[in-house]
């Protein structure tokens, strides 16, 4: 069993799987269950400033979309930050941290964008013995209407300012949680770094309407016939999160800034992908809300087996794929592949044919006996057939060796890489002296 113990900003946890700030981390009861199940740490659900508690809706606060067999793919919510009194949360945080000293305890915070508000809450959190704080600049619903959450996270100057206030007023490591509801994630990340933040975590939820009730003409979840945009999360958002993590990991201005990866982590494999793209650990919410805390056991055994198989340590995995994230213009245009259909694995459903014939390059032939074969002289290697095939590894992309002739173009495949920057069709590739 590989050693999964994790060190993020000096915060130690027995594994890199933390629960994200969300309903599962709102109370000692839940958090203790999570720790008992094996979670390495938690980010306690966001605390607000002292005063009258937050009010939530009293109708449904979650909505979902499902894949086949009603597998939950995406969840959205209109729940606000914790609606329990501040002192109750602080008391429980302190107790749980005392009882579980080996687990990471991060406290998520969201108070008004005034220095005094932050100065007031930071010592209270520090007093709990928590390992760090996470600034919730991400929630897209409810609180953003009041100038908090995503309303802060969408303005890099605010991020920098609040991060700086926090750094100046606490010894605890500061993690800035970023909203994806912005055009370029690098700007808020750079702002966080400039403000002195120790790390960023992302993504928070995505603004969304999960569905519409077609009988009542109300967005879901429906509150008395009306709905509001909520925060979208779950397996469906993972690709968006992966890209944003990678963008920050490879941005020269933020390279090396620790990242806590969040967004649709459901299995060990999802977690490993975040880590490979540069996240130092991952945070999970929807998977726990869908399947219960026990899923961490599969994450632990799976990641451990994967690391063992590659004879790799956890820290060696972190960022291992980051150098391979590049811009389109640097992709090797001499990398020529063709789809190949394994006839033994093929179940003759014809989905590859429909996809290719109707929507792509007419590169799959169908015989009267329903034998599907790739026409190499038409195949542009788009991969759509691979993506729509219901049988894993039935259709694969096979690379043409250097020196062979691509029957589609009639050109000899070069074994030397070449990309757009030097391509003759690229006007920018022409040298000025020519």
């Amino acid at each position: 069993m590989a050693d999964l113990s994790s060190d993020f900003l000096g915060i130690k946890s027995p594994n890199p799987f933390w629960l994200a700030s969300a309903p599962p981390t709102d109370k000692a009861y839940n958090v203790v269950r999570a720790f008992t199940a094996g979670w390495g740490g938690v980010v306690w659900k966001t605390l607000g400033e002292a005063g009258p508690p937050i009010v939530n809706v009293n109708g449904p606060r979650y909505g979902a979309i499902w894949g086949a067999d009603r597998r939950l793919l995406g969840l959205n919510n209109i729940e606000l930050i914790t609606d329990r009194p501040l002192e109750v949360n602080l008391r429980e945080i302190k107790q749980v941290k005392r009882d579980w000293p080996d687990r990471a305890m991060i406290v998520s915070l969201m108070v008004p964008c005034e220095e005094q508000a932050w100065k007031a809450i930071l010592p209270l959190v520090e007093d709990t013995g928590a390992d760090g704080i996470e600034l919730n600049f991400g929630c897209p619903h409810g609180m953003s209407e009041r100038g908090m959450g995503a309303a802060v996270g969408q303005v890099p100057e605010y991020i920098e300012m609040v991060a700086r206030w926090c750094k100046q007023n606490t010894r605890m490591p500061v993690i800035v949680k970023l909203t994806p509801n912005i055009t370029d994630i690098r700007y808020p990340a750079r702002a966080a770094k400039k403000g002195g933040a120790d790390a960023v975590s992302l993504i928070n939820t995505i603004s969304s309407i999960i569905g519409v009730d077609l009988e009542r003409f109300s967005p879901e979840p429906s509150i008395d016939g009306k709905g509001s945009h909520g925060g979208y999360c779950g397996p469906a958002v993972k690709p968006i999160a992966l890209n944003m993590v990678a963008e920050i990991a490879r941005d020269p201005q933020t390279r090396g800034l620790p990242i806590s990866g969040i967004g649709g982590v459901t299995t060990w494999r999802d977690a490993a992908e975040f880590l490979a793209l540069g996240a130092g650990n991952v945070q999970v919410c929807t998977a726990a809300m869908t399947y219960g805390f026990k899923i961490v056991q599969e994450m632990i055994s799976g990641l451990s087996q994967y690391l063992d198989r590659h004879e790799m340590t956890l820290s060696e995995l972190i960022g291992r794929a980051t150098p391979n994230v590049t811009d389109w213009q640097y992709l090797n245009l001499n990398y020529v592949t063709k789809a190949h259909i394994d006839q033994d694995a093929c179940i003759k459903c014809g989905r590859c044919y429909a996809a290719c014939e109707d929507t792509s390059h007419q590169a799959i032939a169908m015989s009267p006996e329903r034998v599907f074969t790739v026409k190499d002289d038409e195949c542009v290697a788009c991969n759509l057939c691979v993506n729509v095939c219901p049988v894993e590894n039935c259709i694969t992309m096979e690379r043409m060796p250097g020196g062979s002739v691509d029957p589609r173009t009639g050109l000899v495949v070069s074994d030397q890489p070449a990309d757009w920057t030097t391509h003759p069709n690229n006007p920018a590739a022409r040298t000025a002296a020519e």
Partner: protein
């Protein structure tokens, strides 16, 4: 081929070799990786899952299925073996239709449970094929435990004891270890020498010596074992066979179904096995079904199972009954043999219908004859050769808690011990739990 299903008497090679081979292939083919992923995807990862509760060894089924679904069948196997070191065999022989798969919530929802048994086999086969034994023996404790019986209970007990660092010697009367896994399971449920391979794999834990051909009460005595070891575990199984109490039981052609099954399992060439043209199997448990189905597969022209009670009371599950029926086995319910007909060799069975009268069964007086040249008795096994000095209850060694017998330092589990169903998986659980209790006792 000189014989056919129509050849009278008990003769070998009623079917040609290739057909015999085909008849005795794996009952359920192993899942391929694609099938395993599709099957695994159906699991809902239930909380406090009913399937776990239904499993006598309490395997964390949702977890291992999720591990398969996420591409780590090896981790899945570890999850299974943590609870059940004979998870490979149990995946093949467990009556899942009355255990985990009956409890599966998708059985309730759609009448189609997650294929837990086959998924378990997929996981355990994957790890075992890699030759990996996922457990390591703890530092030797200096304690030595004797295990009598190398069946599922004894093997599970020995493995768990070895894991804890105790030295174990297993004694078994038969020439090969494995117990009913080796000698008592239908051929098509454990093909390709799986039982022997599983024993070899299990012994990789180290610290276990196996002595075969040693019978308790003849070659070794409990008192001696007790004196020479720190603890003794008895996993004797049920070596005795109930008598039919029908006239003519001694006729040639009347035999025990367990012996027939054992012979079949050990045969290197199925074409050498003699089988009757008309076979009558008496009994209603798994042994009866296994014997009947295999008799049919060997080429018997007709095979009839006689069961003295109604279908609902039959210990063999409906699934097993249907399997037998699909192979051409005929069932006659509410009927008992009264006379084995013949002159020297069996020629038929006189059968009387039965009815319930109060709590007992009585004959109705109406009889009929079935032609038979072979009669297989599968009316239950009995404890045979249990050492003296142990309390016996209901024909089994009395145990309390995790297999403690009435004699200090002696534990028992599996079919020979009181409590639990006589299933491989139950025996594994009892052996394992006794080992934990022995461990605590020895180090306590």
């Amino acid at each position: 081929m000189t014989n056919s299903p129509f050849t009278p008497g008990i003769v070998p090679a009623r079917l040609d070799g290739s057909l015999l081979q085909e008849n005795f292939v794996d009952l359920h083919a192993a899942l391929d990786p694609h099938e395993a992923l599709v099957a695994a995807d159906r699991c809902y990862f239930c909380h406090d899952a009913p399937c776990i509760t239904a499993c006598p060894t309490t395997i964390d089924i949702p977890l291992f299925i999720r591990q398969i679904a996420t591409g780590t069948p090896e981790a899945a196997a570890k999850t299974i073996f943590d609870q059940n070191i004979l998870g490979g065999m149990c995946a093949r022989v467990c009556p899942t239709e009355t255990l985990c798969e009956q409890a599966c919530v998708r059985e309730a929802a759609e009448g189609k449970p997650v294929e837990i048994g086959r998924l378990q086999r997929y996981a355990t086969d994957t790890l075992m094929a890699q030759g990996i034994h996922p457990f390591r023996r703890a530092a030797p404790t200096g304690k030595h435990v004797a295990v009598v019986g190398a069946g599922p209970a004894g093997l599970a007990c020995a493995h768990r004891l070895a894991m804890h660092g105790h030295a174990v010697t297993i004694y078994d009367a038969r020439p090969k270890a494995g117990g009913l896994n080796e000698y008592g399971i239908a051929h098509y449920k454990a093909t390709d020498g799986f039982a022997a391979a599983e024993v070899a794999w299990l012994l990789k834990i180290g610290g276990i010596m196996v002595q075969t051909g040693v019978t308790l009460g003849q070659d070794i005595m409990l008192d001696t074992l007790h004196a020479n070891h720190d603890a003794v575990f008895l996993g004797l199984g049920l070596a005795g066979v109930n008598a039919l109490h029908a006239e003519g039981e001694e006729r040639k052609g009347v035999m025990d179904a367990v012996g027939f099954i054992a012979e079949l399992r050990q045969a290197s060439d199925l074409a050498t096995l003699a089988i009757g043209r008309n076979v009558v199997v008496i009994g209603g448990g798994m042994t009866a079904i296994d014997a009947a189905v295999q008799a049919k597969l060997l080429g018997a022209q007709s095979v009839t199972v006689l069961y003295r009670r109604g279908r609902d009371a039959m210990p063999a599950s409906r699934y097993e009954q249907d399997l037998a029926a699909s192979k051409g086995v005929r069932f006659i319910f509410n009927a008992m043999p009264v006379t084995i007909l013949g002159n020297g060799a069996v020629t038929g069975v006189r059968v009387e219908y039965t009815k319930a009268e109060g709590s007992s069964l009585v004959g109705t007086g109406e009889t009929f004859d079935i032609p038979a040249d072979q009669v297989l008795k599968a009316i239950g096994q009995t404890l045979d050769g249990a050492p003296g000095g142990l309390e016996i209850t209901g024909g089994k060694i009395a145990v309390t808690g995790p297999g403690r017998t009435t004699r200090k330092g002696v534990w028992a589990g599996g079919d020979c011990a009181s409590g639990g169903e006589d299933l491989t998986v139950t025996a594994v659980a009892q052996g394992r739990d006794a080992a934990e209790d022995i461990h605590v006792t020895l180090l306590g």
